[in-house]
Symmetry: C2
Subunit: 415 residues, 2 copies
């Protein structure tokens, strides 16, 4: 029963990644009561902070107490009644996850797919919408399984034109890539902290606009144990989950403060600090930092003679897939990276399992030193396995990417 | 965007309460990857620690990533298929919660009730089991809404005799009252950290025995995105929640380590430290400390001329209900306790709302100084409202309870 002892890992996989130190510090804060005015004050502040993170005016912006898939399930199970049609464009593992969650809600699930490593054209999605006429379109923005980023800016307008609700899971992309909820006309979003936001898994920020809330509120319900005379018992088909009943969770976060769960205060403190880190540095600056780190990593990888995976014009800034070269034992490389250099890089799922590593540059770790250490160590490990590669090309190329960014920033400043 | 700033509250309500300092410290630990051997090592250690907390040999002992009601919902939704019969004996708010969660799973829910402030005789439960013949009996051990502790030691045998699965929610009672899972033949349990375990809300330790696991495993399913050739697609009626699919969660915590969610590492670190605190001090010692603090609080309250609520012979050790005296503004008392003395005491739900305060002595706060400050402050606040009460009787009585406990411990030690 010793205190926790971990090696000082540098987490350069597809997430979770190392937390910002300030986030860790926030999570050692002593509690107050759940209805303490200082606590509800911070709940309101968290709502305001995540409105900024999502670039939305949505009143209903709050946290689901669970990992990022808790946010997905709360969104889908609260809006989808049994038999409702939902369309899921799948371009990786997390599309399958949306499908499976919707199926379990007994929705009528329709899917379209592109091969892993690609994304959808808006026309493909619009055609499917016309054919299926779904109540909801559910799509991920960034699918870490393939590193792909689905452009969403045109999808919201298409959905609005066909009276479809648009839900997106932006867990893998938020913070490292643009996300403009209101401008893009996205009705519902859920995310997690463990990627570019630089926090631990376990809290799922969400936001819902009035169209989405109206669909959920049709199924309003107040729990028996706390129902007062002025509450109506129930209306609409009851949401199948108590824990994920967004109507009840909104009543808890809202002015009535109707008891539902006991807010996971420590995770709220962490979530708050993730938003503070993002907004203090500035969203554009953080996105640029991710683009720079991702670009340095990508070019370094290519300079080493390794092949990146997938359609690079639609890659998330914060993660790159790397084809494991022939005659290289991919798992032994990961093992050596971890055990010799304390650096974690990722494996893959499904069709890419054993074929592709995934290397992330996210949140706190979207840093020059993290990129350079990773490239150097990968070179050393690959050399140890007899893989021929040019000496120092990876790290030098990444250094050059950083230098040239510095130069062009200096140039811009001097103009 | 300042760092979090809270007043130093002493949380003497029905939970959440102040965390053990070591728990807060554990939650500022930097992360490692979710499949890092040091992480999976701690996951295994957490399973072993909570086996001790629950007094069980159950292999399937782990955490659900969510608040305590996430543990309830995972347990019920994974075992109850639509149409399955479940019997819920209700003796407070959380009985209603079990009912509502089971109803949403489309189980056929049967309830029996006793008035708030009382508990069930085993015969009442056995008679209902004979009549209903349920698949599952779901009952809370301690219902904070009423402060009552349902004796469970005879219920397991009754359930076994009638081939019924016994699930219990022990969130409010665990750590402060005995809980002997295997000896009492309890098939499934879920708890939270935010009461006597001295942690924050947001992680739900659970344990399931082989009988319960067999019922869940009938509904085995592997997610599409990660399914390999050696996985069968599905069998039995699919569990209606992905997030709460215990089969999948067991596959994640088990040797196969099949990806489900990304473990909420910070909450796991906190959960681990809660168990370490309990086991290092010793379960019997911690229970005795709660009994002593609860007894000192109860006797102090009575000495002040206040009336405790409910059947005192079946009260949890760690919380007492107190009738709000006539002509006293209960909410103003709570307000003054909080704002003048930084001490939180609880209000009540449902039929007790506005009629009863709830005062807890839990976890880190099951301490002499916490009890004494609370009694003194309550006296001062009540005096300020013109409530006549004997000077210093509450605190002196509590001091005497502690002295006499010290004397009898010394006497025991000298024998």
């Amino acid at each position: 029963m010793q205190p926790l002892q971990f090696p000082p890992r540098l987490l350069m996989g597809p997430g979770p990644i190392n937390c910002y130190p300030s986030v860790l510090q926030a999570m050692s804060t002593q509690l107050v009561g759940q209805y303490d005015p200082t606590m509800t004050g911070y709940m309101n502040e968290v709502m305001a902070l995540y409105r900024q993170v999502f670039n939305t005016q949505n009143e209903q912006t709050f946290l689901i107490d669970g990992t990022s898939r808790a946010g997905i399930e709360a969104s889908l199970v609260s809006v989808l009644e049994p038999g409702d049609k939902v369309l899921v464009p799948i371009f990786g593992r997390f599309g399958h996850l949306l499908t499976e969650i919707a199926e379990r809600a007994d929705a009528e699930v329709h899917t379209i797919e592109v091969p892993w490593g690609e994304v959808f054209d808006p026309q493909q999605i619009e055609e499917a919408i016309k054919r299926v006429q779904p109540k909801v379109l559910a799509i991920v923005q960034g699918d870490t399984s393939t590193t792909m980023l689905q452009p969403l800016n045109d999808i919201g307008g298409i959905c609005r034109a066909h009276d479809v609700l648009l839900y997106t899971d932006a867990t893998a992309s938020i913070g490292g890539n643009p996300f403009d909820m209101d401008a893009w006309q996205i009705d519902a979003v859920s995310v997690g902290l463990q990627k570019c936001l630089g926090g631990p898994s376990g809290s799922a920020p969400v936001s819902y606009n009035d169209r989405f809330v109206a669909a959920v509120r049709k199924r309003h319900h107040v729990e028996a144990g706390i129902r007062d005379a002025h509450h109506t018992e129930s209306m609409g088909s009851r949401i199948r989950s108590n824990y994920f009943d967004l109507g009840m969770i909104m009543d808890y976060w809202g002015e009535e403060r109707l008891n539902h769960h006991t807010e996971a205060a420590t995770m709220l403190f962490g979530s708050r600090q993730c938003a503070v880190e993002l907004l203090r540095e500035g969203q554009d600056a953080v996105i640029a930092r991710h683009q720079l780190a991702g670009n340095a990593m990508l070019q370094g990888i290519q300079a080493m003679g390794l092949q990146p995976y997938g359609d690079l014009s639609n890659k998330m800034s914060n993660v790159v897939g790397v084809h494991i070269p022939d005659n290289v034992d991919g798992e032994k490389v990961r093992h050596d990276m971890l055990n010799i250099f304390n650096i974690e890089i990722g494996t893959s799922f499904g069709p890419l399992k054993g074929k592709v590593w995934r290397i992330g540059t996210m949140g706190y770790n979207a840093r020059q030193d993290a990129v350079l250490h990773t490239l150097q160590s990968l070179e050393t490990v690959l050399r140890g396995q007899g893989f021929a590669l040019p000496n120092g090309e990876g790290v030098d190329t990444a250094l050059a990417v950083y230098s040239s960014a510095k130069d062009s920033a200096a140039q811009k400043a001097s103009l």
